[in-house]
């Protein structure tokens, strides 16, 4: 009898839908309803707020055509190469600055204060240096992600357990071995966190550069939809882009075990 009682209580404790999920569903539905009301109200110029049916159709059309994937691939390539270049340079700069107090005092303020400046303003220079093609977009990605990665790695270097460093020194490891065997493994989390932040800003830098001058990439697709005043397509691209960006951010955080750190 006691067992049955326990089972009954357990079943009561897990309702069909948790209150949090219910609130989320209600909020999402409210947004959709408000959107639809705005679409049919006639308060906005035609197509500025298209109906949900039209946006859904645009979304299906976007995802079923090859055009989107070709442009997505172009953006992924630019972001990946930019992140690769900016990431390697950022990690090296972070290791150098983080390992030496004198260099940190001499150069880290420049990294720290230049980090939050708007990077897109460097785009005219990038165009002059690397042209209007892939090169300038990759450079924008690299410049954008360099600073957060370098700062995270430098901060991570200072938090390494001194015992590990002494172990490396007692084995007479050379600087290269120290970097590969001690510093980098001990700094997995700061590096992953830096790469996560770097990915976000590299993505923004590359996409904004694509909206300025380009003939390929997701940024180009957005500005192309704007110039053609194809609002449903613009909404569809932005929705997919935001979902992909949030997904990529979560994935990097999860792969790097950052969620575990937060929970601890």
């Amino acid at each position: 009898m006691a067992d049955i009682g326990r089972l009954t209580r357990a079943r009561r404790a897990t309702p069909w839908m948790s209150p949090v999920t219910l609130v989320r569903v209600v909020i999402a539905l409210s947004v959709l309803v408000v959107w639809q009301v705005m679409a049919v109200s006639g308060w906005f110029y035609g197509d500025v707020v298209p109906s949900l049916r039209i946006v859904t159709m645009a979304l299906v059309k976007l995802l079923s055509g090859s055009d989107f994937y070709w442009n997505l691939w172009a953006t992924i390539q630019e972001v990946a190469i930019g992140l690769g270049i900016g990431g390697v340079l950022g990690i090296v700069a972070g290791l150098v600055v983080g390992a030496n107090k004198f260099l940190a005092k001499a150069f880290e303020p420049y990294l720290y204060y230049l980090g939050p400046t708007p990077k897109i303003i460097f785009f005219p220079i990038m165009i002059m240096w690397f042209g209007t093609g892939y090169g300038s977009k990759i450079a924008m990605g690299a410049v954008s992600c360099f600073f957060p990665i370098a700062l995270n790695v430098a901060a991570g270097m200072r938090q390494i357990d001194q015992v590990l460093i002494r172990v490396g020194q007692s084995f007479r490891a050379n600087p290269w071995q120290m970097a590969l065997k001690i510093y980098l493994p001990a700094m997995r989390h700061p590096i992953i966190n830096g790469l996560r932040l770097g990915l976000g800003v590299a993505l923004i830098g590359t996409l904004l550069a694509e909206t300025k001058i380009s003939n390929r990439g997701i940024g180009f697709m957005v500005i192309d939809a704007y110039t053609k005043f194809d609002m449903p397509r613009m909404y569809a691209i932005l929705i997919v882009l935001f979902v992909l960006a949030i997904g990529a951010n979560t994935l990097v955080a999860r792969l790097g075990g950052l969620d575990d750190i937060k929970q601890k």
């Binding site: 230049l114 303003i121 882009l241």
Partner: protein, 254 residues
């Protein structure tokens, strides 16, 4: 053995000297023709063009315009960000439902929606302000929640022992205790706002300092473009340092 004062200023001197050295090397490489002067202008030309850009391009007016856009976005994101943060803190169920969404919003490249804002608000300062507001909102909300949630238990108990009403408890205990953290959020929001204001000004070719860079680049005024970029970087750095000082002052006062 160098004195303590020398040891303190030596890194700064080395840092500044390195920058001067790099600029000198670039100047020499351009003069001997190893770097194309039609791609990279002489650093001395850039330095000379500062005065010209400041006088001829009405930089004060542009600076004030960008400043005004940032201020407007800052006021909006403070009012709405703090209000939403307080609301989410007061209603735990809403907080559990929405906090992840707000964090996700912070990682989405919202600035890429600027063509959408152009359609909604036109090619005007309102587009820039609204975009900066949206881009800077998430950190203000998250930091407000964090500040209110980390109010020390002992302070809350003091309020209870005085039988404060919920409104008094909020204004006398929670809000003052959370203020430094809320300011950290507002500072982050303002930095995001400045980045987005200048960026969107550059992209839509409208407004203050960002617009100036685009205009000079389109005129192919190389030295002027570099000087304007240096000026904007300088403004951002000063802004960043000023807000950092204010944050330190507020944190130490709390």
């Amino acid at each position: 053995m160098p004195s303590a004062g020398t040891r303190r200023v030596l890194p700064t001197v080395v840092g500044l000297s390195s920058i001067v050295l790099i600029l000198a090397v670039v100047e020499i490489l351009i003069r001997i023709g190893l770097i194309n002067r039609f791609i990279v202008p002489l650093p001395s030309d850039v330095a000379k063009s500062f005065g010209r850009v400041i006088v001829e391009e009405d930089i004060l007016h542009r600076f004030l315009l960008t400043g005004w856009e940032c201020l407007a976005a800052g006021v909006l994101l403070t009012i709405f960000g703090v209000a939403i943060g307080v609301l989410l803190h007061q209603v735990p169920l809403m907080r559990r439902a929405c906090e992840t969404w707000v964090a996700a919003m912070a990682s989405a490249p919202l600035v890429l929606a600027y063509p959408l804002f152009l359609v909604l608000f036109g090619r005007s300062a309102l587009t820039i302000i609204m975009l900066a507001f949206v881009a800077g909102l998430a950190p203000v909300i998250l930091k407000t929640i964090e500040g209110l949630s980390t109010t020390r238990r002992v302070l809350i108990n003091v309020g209870r022992s005085f039988k404060l009403t919920p409104a008094q408890q909020f204004w006398k205990i929670y809000f003052p205790s959370a203020l430094p953290t809320i300011f950290v959020g507002i500072r982050l929001g303002l930095i995001f706002a400045l980045i987005n204001v200048v960026g969107v000004e550059f992209l839509i070719n409208f407004g203050g300092l960002g617009h100036l860079i685009n205009e000079l680049a389109e005129r192919y005024d190389l030295a002027g473009t570099y000087a304007a970029i240096c000026f904007v970087v300088l403004v951002s750095v000063v802004f960043f340092m000023a807000t950092e000082r204010a944050e330190r002052w507020l944190t130490s006062a709390a």
